[in-house]
């Protein structure tokens, strides 16, 4: 990369209050995201939340209604897609059906008038990186899904651009290939160090690839942060529900003072807060209602080291469903007050209809405003 940066933390790709309306309807509402040079930004959210719209605006296919996009400090919002020095891998791969693999990879250089010898050299380079040399003479129709994916990446790679855009690149592959290609994209990013913006609706892809995740819902940015922040400190219930599988357990109840501590109370159950904040105390002072959230892996059948000393973190609950996955077993409990899913070791036997003692790691508990869904820090 030829651009030198003043400082490491300076953002490279700046999405600045970007908005998009289609016929007066907001597809994207004033979104701002900064990506550092060499960063891997993943845009994630349910279908129709505006991910492709945002990506197409970065690529230059859709004009922005409001806001600006900058790369290395320079606005690219008014540039033609071919002038932005950005390459894109499309969801459908979009390989030119009448051209060979080599023709596909070389088409951009051809239109820019790169001499043939140089073109062939670069095509060979890229083909060797992606291990598609034996395919260069074939037509896209003669390739498998995974091979097409590689060629589409080759076409982007050969440009040596300032940033790559990926629009759900793995969604057309079968599960096994998806995992393999995911790993390859991650390795490729580590090797090239080029900034990437990647769209997916798959939260596992987002977690594994990203240096930064942006969660969108109905065109509105919900949270931007590292995978760790998104997972461990979701900004609201939408993010909490969307990231992680199985979805985070959530129960509505009250915060109450109890012997100098603060307890989350629902029906007969009480769970003691680990390190309550000032805001927790304020709510407890008026016995306010909150949403309590905890992930399945933070509920277990044994009181681990992290739970020792914390009283009031165990509940006796009735098993409703047992789902062994091989490595772990998920058990769901259900009664009129609360539904929980816990991840327990696979050797523990649980029986539907019986009661089990489950321990809640309250240091991993989340609390949300029960009306707005906002995280209560």
């Amino acid at each position: 990369m030829s651009i030198s940066m003043n400082s490491k933390t300076q953002s490279f790709l700046e999405i600045d209050n970007l908005g998009k309306q289609y016929a007066g309807v907001d597809a994207l509402k004033s979104v701002s995201i900064d990506v550092e040079e060499g960063g891997f930004l993943v845009l994630v959210g349910p279908s129709g939340c505006g991910k492709s719209t945002l990506l197409n605006m970065i690529a230059g296919f859709e004009p922005a209604t409001t806001g600006d996009i900058r790369i290395a400090g320079k606005s690219i919002a008014d540039l033609h897609p071919s002038k932005r020095d950005i390459a894109m891998v499309f969801q459908s791969y979009a390989l030119y059906p009448n051209m060979s693999v080599a023709g596909n990879i070389g088409f951009g250089m051809e239109t820019r008038g790169v001499p043939k010898a140089e073109r062939l050299k670069k095509i060979d380079e890229v083909a060797s990186i992606l291990q598609i040399e034996p395919l260069l003479k074939r037509k896209p129709a003669q390739l498998s899904g995974g091979q097409r994916q590689r060629v589409a990446m080759g076409r982007a790679l050969v440009r040596d651009p300032q940033a790559f855009l990926f629009d759900e690149p793995l969604s057309n592959l079968d599960a096994r290939l998806r995992v393999d290609m995911r790993a390859e994209i991650k390795k490729l990013h580590a090797r090239l160090g080029t900034t990437i913006v990647y769209v997916t609706h798959d939260q596992i892809e987002a977690m594994t690839l990203a240096t930064k995740i942006a969660v969108l819902k109905l065109g509105e940015l919900q949270q931007v942060g590292t995978p760790d922040e998104i997972y461990n400190a979701p900004a609201n219930t939408f993010v909490a529900d969307f990231m992680g599988s199985p979805a985070m357990n959530r129960v509505t109840g009250q915060l109450e003072f109890s012997q100098g501590h603060i307890d989350f109370v629902v029906g007969p159950y009480r769970l003691r807060l680990h390190e309550p904040s000032e805001e927790h105390r304020e709510i407890a002072a008026r016995s306010g209602t909150v949403d309590f959230g905890i992930r399945a892996e933070n509920i277990s059948e044994e009181s681990g080291a992290e739970n020792t000393g914390a009283a009031g973190n165990a509940l006796s609950l009735q098993v409703d469903l047992v789902e062994p996955t091989g490595s772990d077993t998920f058990i769901s409990t259900k009664d009129e007050h609360a539904v929980f899913t816990a991840r327990i070791a696979n050797h523990v036997k649980a029986t539907v209809g019986e009661k089990v003692e489950l321990f809640f790691d309250m240091s991993k508990a989340h609390f949300f405003d029960s009306e707005s869904g906002r995280r209560i820090p």
Binding site: S82, M88, Q91, A94, Y96, N98, T111, R112
Partner: protein, 287 residues
Amino acid sequence: MNSASKLSFGRIALYLVLFVFAIYYLLPLYVMLVNSFKPLDEIRQGDMLALPQAWTIAPWASAWSTAQIGVQATGLKPYFMNSISMVVPAVLLSTLLGALNGYVLTKWRFKGDGIVFGLILLSCFIPFQIVLIPMARMLGILGLAGTTSGLVLVHLVYGLGFTTLFFRNYYAAFPTELIRAAQMDGAGFFRIFTRILLPSSGPIIVVTVIWQFTNIWNDFLFGASFADVDSVPMTVALNNLVSSSTGVKEYNVHFAGAILAALPTLIVYVVSGRYFVRGLMAGAVKG
């Protein structure tokens, strides 16, 4: 399962019906062919279905180069050439322009493009008779009255509605991501058209060419209305041949002439029909 057991009663009945229909359609062609190789007196003897006793190609030679057409004894040859020099540019231009229209209407959308397409489409439904007089006036103003160029223009304008419709529908299903990929690769309007879109348009080009060629070649009304002596197309000449014979009706010559007039469309069907099927097969293999 062996094939004998498939020959049920229903199947036999089906084949029988198909056979009868095939005969029904092929019989006129057979009659024309057979009688075009007979001397005239053999036809007068009455058996239209019999094979010629004395084969002769004289009727064909006459129809092609010496028969009386209107007032001149030129045969159909010059009119065949008139038709060719009208049909070829008209088909090529209307196909190309239809492709461009379809491309713009699907991939370079603009405000009001739907209305434009609606208006173009409307032109498909205007009956020929309505445009005759305004068209004659237009050709007069443009100085193209009675010329082959004038006929090309008429057929081009009239065919554009259909060719645009064909290509628009075909390109509507063409992935927009491909256009975007090409844009990102730096290709402009015409390069995307010629390098990406046209090479993938084989089947629709063949359909359009067959449609346009058949319609324009077979057109009689525009030819009869707007053509002059040196631009009269084949269909009009054939009519003149059949109606202008003084004295005896030379049926054998008329039959030969009619087949000559139909031959190009037949050839187009046979040649491009095969290509068309091949195009479809290629698409099927692509999956």
